[in-house]
Symmetry: C2
Subunit: 397 residues, 2 copies
């Protein structure tokens, strides 16, 4: 009667939704101030003031028919030129507005890119831990979804596993740095190694293997020596999927872009395929007002000092208490090894302390849990004694 | 290397784009004021003042994190409740916010609905003339796309053809009223007859055939006795795909909705399937600010008197000149029979008079042309002598 696959996707509650509902129920019982929901990756810091200022100014200045009218399907030309100019300057590459396709956010960037590339029988690879919607997006194109391991001490890709897994059906690899859920940033050395392997295998198979870089957290890094390199500097057949959701704290407004590396094999054709995929999936143009807001505010960020403070507080305390944590260079997640083999059981114990965490199994990484620290700092301060009690229960201290 | 289907969709210039480029070139030669581009269906009337007022007020009043944050995937609950309340009141049906799924405009409403319904081997039916993207959206789900004729004098569905074409593989019929390109509105009698046939065949096959009603032009009707009925009053297995693009003159902002008739068989499951399809295609939530603007401005329209004046002027003059025209109850298109059998040749002759029209073949209806009258009235006034000269050339006068 209706499609069973989409029904399954729409009817099954996500873990995070389950936790959200539990938090609501529990809050009614013991007060919201006593329930610590670390499950949701939703920016907790307001958008920079420039966002609302830009909205108000553009609405005042631009004639309505032009402002609220269609832009071209790939996005307003001036918007694309401006964003490409800033990107090129920042990353020292030669990107033009004609390499950019404005999208309704990171999810759209990914589905459009995947549909533009996927042919029958194709396969896409990710490294665990990974953002779970990748599976939905990849299988939505009819392609095979393959998960490879990361090194447990660094959460960086296992290159041996990659070399073994690559085969002529692999159309692309999706990477995500800074990573959700680990917070790890792929440095230049990692990307160079990845590029080297992909280059060699592409040549061997006589067809490009694309490197799809999902970068919604690109601006969210906290130490002055942490650099998020552009994959375009390292690998020709690369496509950057970006969103302003996290950098500008406006995930609800759905604005981002796809940048096709102009050095890619048949880059123009790949770009056209992106345009066609957007059309086929029902994306006419990205929201017009927010295209202009994004171009104007590109390069700004919400106040990241809050996330940094939260990260430092949480990472330092939890390692002090004896938990094994991955040091998060960026994003707003801390990835913590469960204090017993079964992370689900660990989450249940944490829950008894009113700490709501997400099982790493949801990210393809059993035995670990994710803590989203995009919350008020006060919430973390008040949660620390509870984490301490949890550590004591496991005799970590 | 990349997907050939999406490449073809993205690389082939549309007819309207070709005309746009020609108009630009021709304008440079003889002055923009002397070139009459009637090809583009883009609102020419500003959004009602309430749209910008709502944007400014909401931006001032709502805290940033809440305003620009994610709404739930199906849309903000208050927004959905408000829109459903207004819809129910206006059309005398019982629609609740839980039957509504907010989308990024009409194209998204359609792709999500089609992916939610389509199973392997399915078929969807449209009546010519039809909006050409329907073909892209339907074949994008892997389904068969079937075009049936309309009666040439009324541009209403040929019901005999429908009865013959229906078979157990048909999952749905897409209708579009007021129609692009004919401007015709399906009245209650037409929808009742359609419902009757679909009901009978659904029972015969033991599975619902969905009536998908694409209604971006619903509010654009010009005579006080023209009523656009709600399909929900006539047929249980109906789904309304709506967009605020035309009613509020904000097509660039990408905001609309899907309304699943709560009377449909397994309505809740169909709704879940819609949610799942949205997720699979990469729609996280509809743009948050514009969800709220839409809820607040639902029921308002841009100044339709301009379109009405244009329609009257154009329809009266062209019929006077001897052209056969379909009387357009709504939308902003006039569908005109080409004055020779070959509409492409007719368009070329019109071009010599600096009149740029779209060949009906693009809408699956050869022998006719579409004139989009969403332009400044002055443009129509100045074009009339050229249409007259064209009529004289064909000895229609």
């Amino acid at each position: 009667m209706y499609n069973q696959k989409t029904y399954a996707l729409g009817s099954k509650r996500s873990t995070i939704r389950e936790i959200f509902e539990y938090a609501k129920k529990r809050s009614a019982e013991i007060g919201a101030e006593n329930v610590f929901d670390f499950s949701i990756g939703n920016p907790s810091v307001p958008a920079p003031d420039e966002v609302n200022a830009a909205i108000e100014r553009i609405v005042k200045e631009m004639p309505s028919v032009e402002l609220h009218g269609y832009t071209s399907a790939q996005g307003d030309k001036q918007v694309r030129d401006e964003i490409a100019r800033k990107y090129s300057e920042r990353f020292d590459v030669k990107l033009s507005g004609d390499d950019l396709y404005m999208t309704c956010g990171a999810a759209a960037s990914l589905t459009i890119t995947l549909h533009a590339l996927a042919c029958e029988g194709d396969e896409f690879i990710v490294f665990a831990p990974f953002f779970p919607e990748y599976r939905v997006f990849v299988t939505g194109t009819g392609s095979k979804f393959t998960v490879l391991p990361s090194d447990e001490s660094t959460m960086l890709p296992d290159f041996d596993a990659l070399e073994k897994a690559l085969n002529p059906h692999v159309k692309g690899i999706i990477i995500n740095s800074p990573n959700n859920p680990s917070g790890v940033v792929y440095d230049g050395v990692t990307i160079a190694r990845l590029a080297e392997i992909l280059q060699q295998k592409s040549e061997e198979y006589g067809a490009p293997i694309y490197l799809i870089s999902d970068e919604p957290y690109r601006e969210l890094v906290y130490d002055k020596d942490t650099v998020v390199p552009s994959v375009m500097k390292y690998y020709a057949n690369s496509i950057v999927c970006y969103s302003y959701s996290k950098s500008l704290s406006m995930p609800g407004e759905r604005i981002g872009y796809i940048a096709v590396n102009p050095e890619a094999t048949d880059a123009k054709a790949v770009y056209f395929s992106v345009c066609g995929a957007g059309r086929m999936l029902g994306f006419v143009c990205a929201p017009a007002l927010f295209q202009r807001v994004a171009a104007e505010c590109d390069g700004l960020t919400a106040d990241l000092s809050v996330y940094k403070r939260n990260r430092d507080l949480l990472y330092n305390a939890l390692t002090d208490y004896g938990f094994t944590c991955i040091y998060p260079d960026g994003a707003f997640y801390l990835f913590v090894k469960a204090a017993e083999a079964d992370a689900a059981a660990f989450c249940e114990r944490a829950k008894k302390h009113e700490l709501l965490l997400v099982n790493g199994a949801d990210f393809g990484y059993p035995g670990w849990v994710r803590i989203a620290y995009c919350v008020q700092t006060e919430r973390i301060e008040r949660a620390l004694p509870l984490f301490k009690a949890l550590a004591e229960e496991y005799s970590l201290i």
